[in-house]
Subunit: 424 residues, 3 copies
Amino acid sequence: MGNIEKNLLEETAAWVDEERAKTDRVQKPWDVWIDAELGLRNHWYPAALSRQIEEGGFKAITLLGENILLTRQDGKLYALEDRCPHRGVRFSARPLCYTKETLTCWYHTFTFNLDDGNLRTILNEPESPMIGKVQIKSYPLEELKGVVFAFVGDISPPPVGHDVAPGFLDDDAVVYSAEPYVIDANWRLACENGYDPGHQFIHNWSPFSIKNEIPMSFGWVSNKESVLRTTTYFDSDDGPKGFTRKAAETNIVQEAVIPMNDGSLVEVKLPAAEGKSREELNEIAQYAHSCEVGLWMPCMLKVDPWPADPAIHFESYVPRDSTSHTYFQFGVLKTNDKAEADEWMNRRAHEEWEIPTVEDFTIDDAFARKELQKFYSEEDGWKRERLYRPDIELTMWRKFVTKHARGVQTTDHTKGFFSRKDRE
Amino acid sequence: MGNIEKNLLEETAAWVDEERAKTDRVQKPWDVWIDAELGLRNHWYPAALSRQIEEGGFKAITLLGENILLTRQDGKLYALEDRCPHRGVRFSARPLCYTKETLTCWYHTFTFNLDDGNLRTILNEPESPMIGKVQIKSYPLEELKGVVFAFVGDISPPPVGHDVAPGFLDDDAVVYSAEPYVIDANWRLACENGYDPGHQFIHNWSPFSIKNEIPMSFGWVSNKESVLRTTTYFDSDDGPKGFTRKAAETNIVQEAVIPMNDGSLVEVKLPAAEGKSREELNEIAQYAHSCEVGLWMPCMLKVDPWPADPAIHFESYVPRDSTSHTYFQFGVLKTNDKAEADEWMNRRAHEEWEIPTVEDFTIDDAFARKELQKFYSEEDGWKRERLYRPDIELTMWRKFVTKHARGVQTTDHTKGFFSRKDRE
Amino acid sequence: MGNIEKNLLEETAAWVDEERAKTDRVQKPWDVWIDAELGLRNHWYPAALSRQIEEGGFKAITLLGENILLTRQDGKLYALEDRCPHRGVRFSARPLCYTKETLTCWYHTFTFNLDDGNLRTILNEPESPMIGKVQIKSYPLEELKGVVFAFVGDISPPPVGHDVAPGFLDDDAVVYSAEPYVIDANWRLACENGYDPGHQFIHNWSPFSIKNEIPMSFGWVSNKESVLRTTTYFDSDDGPKGFTRKAAETNIVQEAVIPMNDGSLVEVKLPAAEGKSREELNEIAQYAHSCEVGLWMPCMLKVDPWPADPAIHFESYVPRDSTSHTYFQFGVLKTNDKAEADEWMNRRAHEEWEIPTVEDFTIDDAFARKELQKFYSEEDGWKRERLYRPDIELTMWRKFVTKHARGVQTTDHTKGFFSRKDRE
């Protein structure tokens, strides 16, 4: 890894507040991030949960703007472009698999291979010269830890492990999945909110903090020195690419004052901090932040542990279209003990991770992401944002992604690509 | 008629699958059809049912993107542009007819002739120099068989019979009308779905087929020879222009197999075909398809008989705006017997035609039309569609309409045209 | 004042019906009016009612397309741009005032002065170099007569009294405010409908007219002579600018006929006029129209008295965005008697003004404004409208505003302007 951190820091530091005055006149060094409204192409993404597709069942999803039909036949999962090349209808409107190898269009009986999308036959025109020449897009899939990962791209897929945060696919990782849901905000805003060191202020109002009387901080403030001290970057070609930061080692702000016009200072109290001494607050802070936070390409956050040892929290912000993403959340326990694993899946994960996290904490992140959407999508936010010093980690991420992304999704991709072998 | 069929066939055959590879580089020979998103101008259309406009009553409709107010005064029907030239409000918001000859705007008392749309007076300004000089558009109407036909165009209207399928206006035709409804799909997709020889596959899931255990086919497959053998084209200047095809004489596909990877063949069974011998199936097919199907300009389908003798089915796909059409359906009995006619209208049409057709069959066509809409309106479908051999009848229709249409509706037409005599 | 009326008349008379034939070829002399879709910039507007913002409370509004947060702290009202310059979220999503002098963003603790919008501190980064250099827009406010007036513009604000109809701010004016509501129509259409001499025809169907058997007229018809006789224009730099007209002195049309094709004349009867003699009708008309009607820049109408002495009616059509305005209505009594004032506010205004006006009369104006919207916003109405003689007062108003407006609001203004002192 060597000097990644220092290089990134130098390349992006100039873009935060100190020298922000020049930004309008210069090309920003994170153009791929700004272009990646629909997601990064040629990456793996969580597409669905295994339990959402039973044997013989179907699930229509939208991934990076592409409409995809998932189905499970004879235990095997398939993902095909959800649009018949003949006249464009969606197979998912009335999905038909007459065999375990084929998908038939409900409109004119065009019948495709589940595995490669080739037109195998047309029931009412079995001698058609189109057979074997027309193809819909099929998507590489991996089903791991109860999650269906799909590869959206054109290149030969790298190992799925390169696009998942470390640890998630480990043999001893027991993965409990919450029900995914759609949030009306671009996926990049979700990534940034998740890793953003300053955003923690919003969680002072989360039910988790109120119920447990755990005041969150006013935010973390990373200056260049603390970024170098607390953050590690991973850009090996043999594994996932991303960042990690030890939260407790960053500058967690527990106290704040507002200077008044008359020269006095008003101390600001957070809701759950009332009646607590400074020592108690610091103790809580150290406890609450004794975790490592990591953001991994293309869109996965890891918080270890969270909300408390031994639970590890993972979440993915999967691009759906330009204005929404699907929010996946996973509570993971590391164990090789079968009985412990079962108890995690059957009871403990719900109690120790899902209630405090999914129900009582990340709903505020969903709220924040939605609030960002209007500015960035309608009001030229990527140009007009006015970053401040702690945002340096966001600009480093933007730069990092700009360098390491395997591609950018475009609207042309979403319109589908009908492989026409007869024209080759 | 002579060689219409052969010429059409030659001109359009090249555009289906065999030579489809060239289509991107050449202008398609059905450009009028592609341009006619808002309908064909200078044609007659079903605008409403007679029973929808009582004496003194009003009905606001949208036809080819034009907002029109219908009213019946002293038994006579009128159709006027539903927009006051003064300040653009719709008369239909609060329609006022103070006399049987005039329509008065609720806003500033501009009062127009019902028959020709000329400004007759302004109640609060009877000396206005605008009187007699300002005009709104009026639409020629014909009320026949309980249907109000309106002519949308600029030329002197041809007989309404030229724009209606043969037989509908006959003296002995007893016309029962179902309640029209709006479908969110372009009118051209409705025309194509209705006549499409391959679309019948969808009706295997129609309540009509399930209830009566009548399996539909996998579709009809017309090759060039069968098209010539089974189809007749009408392009006389003295009558309606359109096609007819004897369904039972086309290649109705009752059996289908899917070849498996291991070389075996899987026979596909249709829902209502379970437990029936091939002979039974063929017998049912012949019965179910002993009808003639015709498509007539601008937008009327006729199926004779349907669902069973003596009922004749007619339906019209009337352009409303670029993304919707109004669906009219008619069950017709031919008789000169007054008592029989009455019974048809009072009981039999409902039982023998409306329930099996409107309630239990064409709902699936409505479903299919809506599914086509996204691809054709948002995803460049007219260029990207990948036609196959049985679609040859659709391309022949597109070419036929391109040749015989009296005009194409544009958005400029929908904004209205205020005749300003003072400027002439 | 001198010759304002005559000049306006000469400049705009050519634009109504007599010579309307030329309008397409010439620049209309009211281009500012046509451009002012989002409102007139650099004017005062009613923004809210005092009672809508309690101590410590907040109210988010949209004014001329700008999102504004109102709050009251220590009794003082503030109005700030409702968008954090950092990452664009709206403060109003979770408004926080930790002190009576500051507003803190719920996302990253950016804390702004309530009075001038300067960034006072950032709770988690109190040493940030951005402090004191970043500013959001703050809006001058005046709270008078229970109404919060806000100034939207860039110049030093003139006295609020210059943008309010005469009398409203007088010491002896007791102002009762109805609940404001949003109407889906551009604010200019509301101004024009309110003052339009011909629009009164619509009120023949208002519950007020029906309940009280007070037929309204067919409209007023102003020709050049009556406009000069009945209208007064005010364009002094020391006060509000606007028009007034004595309704009873205009040509109120109480009778109307429609000429029939056979040469006869049909007399038109208004709903509430049935069974009344002409003398009775004229008497009612004189009574109903014994008021002075005035339209004042930027958007306030005054009718004195209305619906009956001693009530004075004021209403404002406040631009919200390009397709909607907020409708404020005020019932005013002039008195220096404290007891009488209290009774007005507690009982009489509701009975004598609010029920007959807000509930039973102006709902028809709201209806008319909405009906105008489609034509003017989607169908090129400002060019295609076909004005008639009584509209001369509208064109005079358009010309008057074009001459006296202090500015025009643009979409660039609505995107906010972040004062960046560090760049100055």
